[in-house]
Symmetry: D4
Subunit: 216 residues, 8 copies
């Protein structure tokens, strides 16, 4: 049997799609992740891994001089894309959603953008959102991260002109169904102009925001 | 085979539970519904039917002198329980939810209470809720009817002291899953103090509100 | 990247909604939970945390002099709201439901109410419920906790005038679907006047009961 | 292409399994149903069809002299199996379940048994069950038909020595999920000794009861 | 707060329903299980526990002299009900279903009946069932345990006169959905006369068989 | 707005994949279906449409001289692919599955193969399958069509050397979940060597069989 | 009871969110739809309704001089927003998806943008996508409409720099689950940079695209 | 109680179905797996086990001289079936799918066939598939392994004449639903000629391919 080949990197992906290939580190060994990060960095001067397992983080950073770690979600980057002057908001409903929000914000900054963080403005205390709304309105795209009933994107999309990206999270229990309820709720939001990404996919939200602000 | 017996009315139910027995008219014939309404009214001086099929409504009202029809949901009542001084809010997110909201409000009024109607205050235009919030705050119980993402009960429960009863509706399409998404979302709402009833169950919400204000 | 901000406490929530903000301790570190409890207590003279992880309980209580622990569910309180003269029943179907029932009862008592406990009165031995029914009828609200087929709220709601709050639990296996079956069953109960909260959400049931007895 | 063959009757099935082959008439044409009934009757002196479409019932009975129609469910029989002295209870929770309960009772009587009908004893008015319990206890098997939350089999199985057959029905709306909720609830009932058949399958419940009382 | 009461045993259950109360040991402590078993045995001269956690089994048996352990499923009994002359078949589709089949057979024998074991006769090698069919046909009830596609009860019910009890198991992966596929398949089996119990519920199947053979 | 273009036919598909493009007629107008059939036939001397709506069938055949109609499923063909000497079995569990089985058999014959029809050999009367097994064993591929519990493919795959294609059907009610139960059951069948196609997809099964017998 | 109020129009929505309020016409009467369109047009010089029921379309257009109808989806507009120079692609997988794609394209043009239509480029004939890719790459946003397995957005997102909006459709049968399969598939697409909207929500996709190109 | 019998091997299965019986090692003890492998090998000169638990692999290979281990999936073989000249492709979408793809390829080679491995050709970089397509086209059957949105089988089936076997994998998170999304997507693929096997069932795909190439 022909030996299985390790992840063939698709180095032209950045050129073709505007989003560089990144390493999804969960389920890979430390050695695989180190090699993939090195390979990306050598070619492009930039490498990003998401969801590095907790027990690999220290060793991965040690093996990759200059690596920067996002400690909640376990994202790691080497270098960064050129800075832009674009601000993108990352709004989240509760403290429990910070892992996902941090992955999104870290990815945005690795891609060169400013991330405006607005935290703990869930719909059960909606006045807190109003305090922050002017800053959010100044952003080019708004990423809204929410678990449980996933209602925050609807409220935000009713208040801003920017496109809203909804990220359902697996926060909650019972009827939250590990994020499926929030996903379905965002899908059927009564405010138009919301694009939804997969449950807990902070990276995907950031990649979509990046395409929105850099395309054309 | 012993003949099947038609619905044996449980006339003591009102005494035992505080909610009089009512007729769920869908799926029954006109003759059955007329007979059941008459039976209830003769004993208790009050009768209520919900979900009378559209094609039976005129005939039912003709057969029952003094009957009052709620035209959207097809609820019909004969008489009413004694008037109270209690106000209960019936808040709904969109025009499409009016069938369910009207069933709830008509039932409340049949049970003797005032129903404060607040319509079309969905979360995508949340400022409209603020305009009405003082009136809602003056109510003893707040029924919130919402389909699609079902987010409105969370927002309301974060703004009022009264208990909130959430009624998911089957309004929406696709990911709304005929009301299941709204039901799950209300269940996992981040604001505490919400009790949820079945999809489209305006009567059930009114019955729960009635028990809340009349018990003890 | 702006540093993520820890849970901003919403200190006015108690005034606005009648339910004080509480700490959902699961998924937070011991230090976070200690700090949040202290912050709440210093402002309001009362603090409640639910679902403190088993391994943090001793340390949390040691760090917070005067803390009272509910040992099954891991709820912890500092102080209590003023005593009322209201009794609220907490009825449960089986021994396995005690974790949820204890969280509800502990929360009720922290909020100042008397909790009447009625345990192990499942529908498969319904006579045991009859023995206790008079005490239950004397309560202002009845919380009914049940897993598996979730039938007990229907039976209770057919016997009492008080509003019934149904709490489905994740007790059971196979077709119990981790509480979803009980949740759906309570939603479609044939007795009107039941408000349902999320699976295993004993705290939420108590918060709803508290709003019912204190509002207006 | 070889012509498709119409239902090949399995005439030895009665001998092999104790349950004669019957005609599931829904989805077949009138001519097919007449031919199948005649074929069964000519061989065995007995024929039973279930779910005859409403528009075929009169014509089918006219084409089959001596046919007996069960008007709610559309079951039709020609002849009957020899009378036994066995009584089997058919208990149902609500008027809406009568279609299924009538199919079960008609099948039992066609198979030679007495069907004790107990109707409208739902769990929300459980005292009505107590009035009938002695008669139910005198039966060899108890079929319990229930929709919505499907709680009645649990209660009955906790009160009688006979085996209980649960038949979930598609009665209800919203969270009833067309009978799936009742099915799951009966599956996870806290009382042991309940065998469950498919949603609305009154015939299947009767066939199982028949095997229980005639086997060996 | 009134102290939570441990499982109140329902000692009259055996008289009322024909199935003695048993201990569901999973989720209880060793001390609780020992106490419950002793309590049952002292009153009735018989006690049965199912699903004793692996780590409690040795200690439980040591604490209860005369205890008999079923090693796969962790059922334990003290004493047994009087022997009958009834044989009940326990048929299973694959080796992986033995945990559930053993629980069923052990329960049957504890209740006084003979259990005829037929193992590894899955539908993919249906000839093996034929070799065993005469023995199965001599039994009063047939319990059929099957996971994955859950097809075996249909095949067996087409071959025997005895009532068939289907027990879906959580054996399988992927589309087996932890037993839900087998449960649904058994529900919609094309052979009539099958009563289905919960996933992996070997005890429940035995309890139903016991009621079938002992009632009246 | 640029006018929407009607189905651009992919005429090289037959060369590229071995399966000619066919018309899925449901949801298209009569004119569209006539034009698409003519377009295919003019290029390739062969055209096949499946699921022609009942009300279009006569007109479509009239508009297309030489058209051959399969009356149950509404498939229509013009011409046929060259005859092969290959036999493919189409086995089905019940009369109700004939619509799907007929679509499969008609497609096979349109593609040039012999279809061996074996009907009404469901698992509840498994001896009927044995009567037909030698003919089935002589076929190069076996298509097995089954609804309800979907068990027949497992049994057949345990008896023959040919690859088995399982086609779940939407036959059944309640727990059959419109074919999803049969689909899941076939997926998790205990006999290896079964490839499953979509619910009611008789055409797809025939296309797969055609690729199996003609590839290379 | 206070009379229910008809849809209160939220005229500032366009200012606040960049997307003008539109009329969701399904489920409303002709009179309501006429009144709502007139109200919007009088204030803003522009009005759009989607999903006008087939039987209302002619009358609505007659009642609203200058109305333009999109015939497949039943969208109707009065006037249009100012023309931009932006092109947005609307790519769809099959003819059956045209209803949704046409709603999206019509909305885009009503909002002032050019819609580049690319039709019938499903993944089973992926070369057709390549023929059109250069035109797609010249667009600022790409809307991809696909039913069944919903794979097209992944393929497109791997080929273009523009952000991709995925619109799952309810096209398909059986395992397509009325669009839920396509929705889930788009959510978990392996290409980053896709935002997903509700099933069949062509309008929502256009609204999101409009926000992307006009915000800031 | 009669002792439970260990897996009775069905040694004639190879003769009857063309696929030898194999050992599904997960959930069995080391001793059971050694005994089963020895039993198979002594009779037939060939034995295959799949899913040997990681902690048993070394010991199993030591106990069975000549055993060959596939290290990712834990398949083990003793001997092999006679070599054929048939090539079968095993195509997979991503590195994460290699466990399943390796099980399929190892099984194919144990059954005597050549496995052409094509790895990391997911639909988000579809050009990589084109580079490999000629090799794939030269194969008699194509197995396509894909998780997440499961789109690759559609694309491949639109490009080759060989039958395609789709293997959904549990790779992905959130909306991937542990492989159910990929399973449903493959089922409803727009390219005909795909047979789907269970989630992660690499062995089953190889068994079906083996039957396709060896039957008749």
């Amino acid at each position: 049997m022909e030996t299985s080949v390790l992840a063939r990197l698709d180095h032209e992906r950045g050129v073709r799609t505007g989003v560089p290939e990144v390493v999804f580190a969960a389920g890979k060994t430390l050695d695989e992740n180190v090699a993939l990060m090195r390979g990306l960095f050598e070619r492009a001067g930039f490498a990003l891994a998401t969801r590095v397992p907790a027990e690999q983080r220290a060793a991965l950073c040690e093996a990759l001089p200059g690596a920067v770690l996002e400690p909640r979600s376990g994202a790691v980057r080497l270098g960064a894309l050129p800075r832009t002057t674009t601000s993108i908001a990352v709004v989240c409903a509760g403290t429990s959603d910070l892992t996902v929000a941090d992955e999104a914000a870290f990815t945005l900054e690795a891609f060169g953008h400013d991330a405006l963080r607005v935290t703990d403005v869930g719909v059960a205390g909606i006045h807190r959102l109003y305090d922050a709304i002017e800053g959010i309105r100044a952003c080019r795209v708004v990423i809204v991260v929410a678990g449980m009933e996933g209602a925050l994107p609807s409220v935000v999309a009713g208040l801003v002109r920017a496109p809203v990206i909804g990220v359902p999270t697996s926060v909650g229990y019972g009827a939250a169904l590990e994020g499926v309820t929030a996903l379905l709720a965002m899908m059927t939001a009564c405010a138009p102009g919301i694009g939804v990404v997969n449950i807990d996919n902070g990276f995907g939200a950031a990649a979509l925001a990046h395409k929105i602000v850099t395309a054309k």
